[in-house]
């Protein structure tokens, strides 16, 4: 055991040393991005380059600062780590540059699927995939004698049995906090119901439909089995409920599932019973009620070519294939990097991709709809208004915002 640890450690040290030698930059690099473990790794590895300063600013508030930090000339941030939802805000304002020439020069060894190509131009390099999927307690499901649910209807039945048998009072978990989280859960369910967010080819909203009403009704049914404070529970609070052994079934992010039960003080039965499966379908549909995500990095437009090249080299160092040899890094995410072999924690995201889950839409006006959903759906979840009224409010709120932003006349 010791020997094994020792050899891995030394092998990694050698790799890290060679990586550092290979990475020479000549101009400043400044990275802004989210703060979860996989991105921390990319930032730390990029910062190992020598020759010029590499600054990282990894924070949960990255979305509030990346655009203002790239609009100046020269831009403060030379690279922003973003996801398929947030690249849109940067493209809308034209602050990131096409990477075709840099990929040709320094991007050997990238998988073609890592290249985010928009209108024929490479705008970002993706390094990991993410999706929400089922996380459950195998021991609890065994106790009631049911298989892990494949559909939300099955999940409801299992939840009912768990409550009736007195095992848990509120066995379902969900990040239903009013705002971004609640809207995202609606998006999942809405796509699972076969909904289309916008009328084809326009920015006109299309959520006040049968699929929308069905999605809300299913969310309401699920919330009956949740902690009554569910409208204040984000992913962190939902995970805490799971860790405390209060929740047996939940829809959770792949990026958080891997490290879910490694926290201190998690009871042994939760650690042992913890299991992951693919996302569920709903209402007899075949498209999973989930969305696919990628995380990747971009290079700012308003910087010198030298800085852009250094940034590209440093970011490539942050996602170099050798890192995939490291066990800890390997479990942090579902990497898109060549040489990555999936860990058991990755099964949920892989199943999501294989089952035809729809990627979160990269539309210029999707962010406005997401905000409107987050603000207006809480009333329905509290039983204050009908599903139709809540969805009509969403469309009205979105329309006002889209008119202001110039997407609707």
């Amino acid at each position: 055991m010791f020997l094994k640890k020792f050899t891995t450690a030394s092998a990694f040290a050698v790799l890290a040393a060679t990586g550092a030698q290979a990475c020479e930059i000549t101009a400043r690099v400044s990275i802004v991005g989210n703060e979860f473990p996989a991105i921390q790794t990319v930032g730390a590895e990029a910062a190992k380059c020598t020759g010029a300063e590499v600054k990282t600013n990894l924070t949960a508030d990255h979305q509030k600062i990346n655009l203002p930090g790239m609009q100046g000339n020269p831009a403060e941030y030379t690279s922003a780590i973003i996801a398929n939802s947030s690249i849109v805000a940067l493209m809308n304002e034209d602050v990131i540059r096409p990477l075709d020439d840099l990929v040709a020069k320094h991007g050997q060894g990238l998988n073609k699927t890592q290249l985010i190509t928009i209108d024929g131009k490479i705008m970002a390099v993706a390094f990991m995939a993410n999706a929400q999927h089922l996380v459950y307690r195998a021991d609890v499901l065994e106790q009631i004698g049911v298989e892990p649910p494949k559909t939300y209807e099955e999940l409801l039945e299992a939840a009912k049995m768990i409550r009736e048998k007195g095992i848990m009072e509120n066995p379902v978990g969900g990040a239903y906090a009013a705002g971004w989280n609640l809207a995202q859960e609606f998006n999942n369910m809405f796509l699972g119901m076969g909904g289309e967010f916008f009328k084809a080819g326009t920015a006109e909203p299309n959520v006040n439909s049968e699929a929308g009403v069905n999605a809300l009704n299913m969310m309401k049914a699920l919330s009956e089995y949740m902690n009554p404070d569910f409208l204040t529970h984000d992913s962190n609070a939902t995970n805490a409920e799971f860790r405390a052994g209060n929740v047996a079934l939940m829809n959770m992010w792949g990026s958080r599932a891997a490290t879910l039960v490694t926290a201190d003080g998690v009871p042994q039965e939760v650690v042992d019973g913890f299991a992951i499966a693919g996302p569920m379908t709903v209402n007899g549909g075949t498209t999973p009620a989930s969305t696919l995500w990628w995380d990747g990095w971009t290079v700012a437009k308003n910087i010198s070519d030298e800085e852009a090249e250094s940034t590209f080299i440093a970011m490539m160092n942050g996602i170099r294939p050798e890192l995939m040899q490291d066990e800890e890094i390997r479990t942090q995410a579902v990497w898109l990097i060549p040489g990555y072999e999936p860990t058991p924690a990755a099964v949920g995201v892989f199943e999501a991709a294989n089952a035809g889950t729809i990627p979160y839409p990269m539309l210029p006006y999707m962010g406005l709809l997401h905000t409107a959903l987050g603000n207006e759906l809480a009333d329905f979840m509290q039983g204050k208004e009908s599903a139709e009224q809540a969805l009509a409010d969403v469309e009205a709120a979105y329309t006002a915002a889209a008119k202001e932003a110039g997407f609707l006349q």
Binding site: D94, D119, P228, L368, A378, K403, G406
Partner: protein, 341 residues
């Protein structure tokens, strides 16, 4: 002071005020009258780890031309102030025409973000402000009667709620009132209802926010009133005692009239502060139940697509709201000032 001396004395302050108060207000007002250009959309093919799809995107070249031509955006006048996210006159008129009863009208009104925010903000402002003044006065009177040795210690503890950062203070309370927290469990036990949750009920959330508001701001009132009590003329109090005034009568007829200017001062500051209630809503994750104008501004700016014009319009309305709220007190102060000169 000579005019000339006054001018040079005031110049640095005046410049700072112009730069840090007047200029931002001008900028916000301007921003609220302009909106981003109409987007030129094109359909492009976008490819990534999950395959290729047709997606709508913004035509950067066409948009750049528009932006260079008119960098401020398109002039929309008061359109943003009147849209659904703000004053929503159209929706209000519709709600009035389609109402089945007066309460139905208010229900429809409460569905519009601005009026929903105003309902909470005004309730909060007009309950928290008097309560915190009363509580602050009570603490000040109590502390004033303590023996000298204890005073410093008690004053420090009374000030703690104000010293603690609002966001941290509200987070601590948020965890305590969780249905699994200390206070949450206590309330469930007291009400004999294991499913009672403060965070799931709009009414209880409002009460919680109001209690937090009073807890957080009472120390401010206390400090001001305590300072005021030190200037209380002892002979007046002694005269009242000789006349046989009870403790309550002394407070009512001697102490409160003496502190009245300070009450006005505290009321002014706190009306202004409470109207801009923000941190507890974020700290308590309470946006499903209670919103305020400041929260709307924050929300407009923190989405994936920032709504600068909408946020500016709400900012201008907040400034106007504060001005309207303070006008009675300001008018009164002005009259008092005039009558004395």
């Amino acid at each position: 002071m000579k005019h000339r001396t006054f001018f040079w004395f005031f110049l640095p302050t005046g410049l700072a005020m112009l730069l840090f108060i007047a200029a931002p207000i001008v900028s916000v007002v301007t921003q609220s009258l302009f909106a981003p250009h109409e987007a030129v959309l094109v359909t492009v093919e976008s490819c990534g780890p999950f395959g290729c799809r047709e997606e709508t995107s913004i035509d950067q070249d066409a948009t750049r031309e528009l932006r260079e031509e008119r960098p401020l955006g398109r002039f929309v006048g008061l359109d943003i102030y009147l849209d659904r996210g703000h004053l929503a006159f159209g929706e209000v008129a519709e709600a009035w025409q389609n109402r089945t009863s007066l309460s139905d009208f208010f229900k429809r009104l409460g569905n519009l973000p601005f009026y929903r925010a105003m309902a909470f903000t005004l309730t909060y402002t007009f309950t928290v402000t008097p309560l915190l003044i009363a509580l602050g006065l009570m603490i000040a009177l109590a502390v004033n009667r303590l023996q000298a040795g204890l005073k410093g210690f008690v004053i420090f503890f009374s000030l703690l709620p104000m010293i603690v950062t609002p966001l941290v203070g509200s987070l601590i309370l948020f965890w305590m009132i969780d249905s699994r927290g200390v206070l949450g469990s206590l309330i469930q036990w007291a009400a004999n209802d294991p499913n009672l949750s403060l965070k799931a009920s709009t009414g209880l959330t409002w009460v919680m926010l109001i209690v937090y508001g009073v807890w957080h701001s009472a120390p401010f009132a206390f400090v001001v009133f305590y300072a005021g009590l030190q200037t209380l003329p002892q002979d007046q109090l002694e005269a009242a005692q000789i006349d046989g005034a009870t403790r309550w009568q002394q407070v009512r007829f001697v102490i409160i009239p003496h502190l009245m200017p300070l009450v006005t001062f505290v009321a002014l500051i706190q009306l202004m502060d409470n109207f801009r209630v923000f941190e507890p809503i974020v700290g308590f994750n309470a946006s499903a139940h209670a919103t305020s104008l400041s929260w709307i501004i924050f929300n407009d700016l923190s989405g994936e697509t920032r709504q600068l014009s909408a946020a500016s319009a709400t900012s201008v309305m907040t400034i106007l709201g504060v001005a309207i709220l303070l006008s009675p007190v300001l008018v009164r102060t002005w009259r008092d000032f005039r009558s004395k000169h």
